[in-house]
Amino acid sequence: MSLTALSNDQRDALQELTNIAMGQAGASLATLLDEFVDLSVPRIRVVEVVDLPPVLADLVGKTNLVSAVRQSFQGYLRGEAIIIFGEPGCQALADLMGFEGELGESGENELLLDVANVLSGACLGGMMEQIRNFTETNGPAELSFSMPLVMARQVMAEQLIDPQKVQWSHALLLEVNFTIKNRDFIAHLTMLMPEDGIEKIRGIIDEFIAAF
């Protein structure tokens, strides 16, 4: 068991925290897309960055193509959010947004960026809100975000992240399934953080468990 793995209790608590946050993400997405959005309960786990490529490949499917958006955040927690979309999901999104015919590459990218931004903003922002409700340890739970960037279009999941080039040691992996208008698609929200970030979250979770 790795140093930073979560105990079952800790994972349940984190699941609870992110559930509420993801509920908001779902509501926000529904507003953005003007469609009812059904979000699954997120599955959550902590993985070391070296294990990330095979884990992502398992999640998304080895031969499936994905597109991904990255966005860094800093403040209460520091790290990088990577939002991974399966290729059918991108198409479903484009259809939903009512883009007639050819969406064009830059239009499609803008759409991906908007959706990714709403997801990471709502999820991390929602987590911060939950944290503010029960603790003031470590100062105000606030984050700022930098501009999201499309990091890859249509690559194999395994090739998405090269652990050698990542400065983060650990990743909090949040898997969320979306259903929009009877179309299923999956987005994976991956939050890469340094080890002390994971430690900080663990501390927060323990406080959360003690408070309820």
Binding site: S28, T31, L32, S106, G107, N109, E110, L113, D114, N117, V118, G121, A122, G125, F145, M147, P148, L149, V150
Partner: protein, 326 residues
């Protein structure tokens, strides 16, 4: 606030002079704040703009799209971003690099931030406009360089037409496209007759001149969608999209005749040149594009065997001919 120690409001002054465009909109898109970056680049001072509707003050703004963007920030209570890569700019500002430019406007990244009291709904949206021109210019230069490299890697060094690598990629993609979307295409494989003799008699420089000249003459006859490349040595391939066999045959024969009628002149020496050609058309039951190179090779061989300087279309009977040869 430590700002009270000064004779001016610290935060206000910093916002005013920050080298980032900052303006604030209320729910009716009325401008509430307009800093110097915005004033100086737009040529519209704060007192001209503040209190006015943004779209009335700047009718050129992309109103429906930007309205949606700002409204989303109000609704979701979440920040939003605009990247120059998707939309080069929000405001058409000149940039500060008139000499090193290469861009005719300032590229902009924007961040939209909901403004609100501690608890509650956003009452205003702050828009920050970042000058991204340097990044954009650097990225565009890089893109051009990469395109140039990819172009060079697809070209034959001597003749300037496509090389074998490109031909094989192109045949493969043309094959896939035809299989998926229907239609047809033909390919012509051809070879200069007795080219070894040209080299031996007149020297390699003369041989090179012949290759360059033939490639150039052929290229001048092509439609824009046709692809001509050097497959190796004195062997060339012509890919003719949307062309059935008969059309390819006629076209190939016209090229053959053109080459035969006009010898290549090198160093005042007249070098007669002829070519032998093999034509084949895509068929639905072919397993891969290599079937086409195989068939055109057999047809080319038949042209050679029949006396050269001619065009042969592939026919299944050629398979038997080839088998007998071995």
């Amino acid at each position: 606030m430590s700002g009270e120690a000064f004779s001016f409001n610290l935060a206000e002054t910093v916002v005013k002079w920050l080298d980032v465009g900052i303006f604030v909109l209320d729910k009716n898109f009325e401008v509430q704040l307009w800093n110097n970056f915005m004033a100086h680049h737009s040529g519209r001072a704060a007192d001209e703009v503040v209190g006015k509707n943004l779209f009335e003050a700047f009718p050129d703004l992309p109103k429906p799209w930007f309205t949606k963007k700002v409204n989303t920030v109000f609704l979701l209570n979440n920040f939003a971003f605009i990247s120059w890569e998707n939309r080069p700019f929000l405001f058409r500002f000149a940039h500060n690099r008139p000499i090193t430019g290469g861009a005719d406007h300032m590229y902009q990244n924007c961040m939209l931030l909901p403004l609100k009291a501690e608890q509650g709904k956003p009452e205003a949206v702050c828009v920050m406009v970042f000058d991204a021109t340097d990044t954009a210019i650097a990225q565009n230069l890089l893109k051009e360089a990469l395109e140039a490299i990819s172009e060079i890697s697809n070209r034959d060094g001597l003749t300037g037409i496509y090389n074998r690598r490109y031909l094989e990629n192109r045949l493969s993609s043309e094959f896939d496209r035809t299989r998926r979307y229907g239609g047809t295409f033909s390919m012509v494989l051809f070879d200069l007759d007795f080219f070894k003799k040209v080299n031996d008699t007149y020297g390699h420089l003369a041989g090179d001149k012949v290759l360059v000249e033939i490639a150039a003459r052929m290229k001048a006859q092509l439609r824009t969608s046709d692809v001509l490349g050097r497959y190796g040595g004195e062997e060339f391939i012509l890919i003719l999209p949307e062309t059935p066999r008969e059309g390819a045959h006629l076209f190939a024969d016209r090229l053959r005749e053109m080459i035969e009628l006009e010898p290549v002149i090198y160093d005042n020496i007249t070098i007669p040149v002829t070519v032998s050609m093999g034509v084949t058309e895509h068929q639905a039951d072919m397993p891969s594009y290599t079937s086409m190179t195989h068939q055109s090779d057999l047809a080319l061989y038949a042209s050679k065997a029949a006396g050269r300087n001619r065009v042969t279309c592939y026919d299944p009977s050629l398979e038997k001919l080839a088998a007998d040869k071995h």
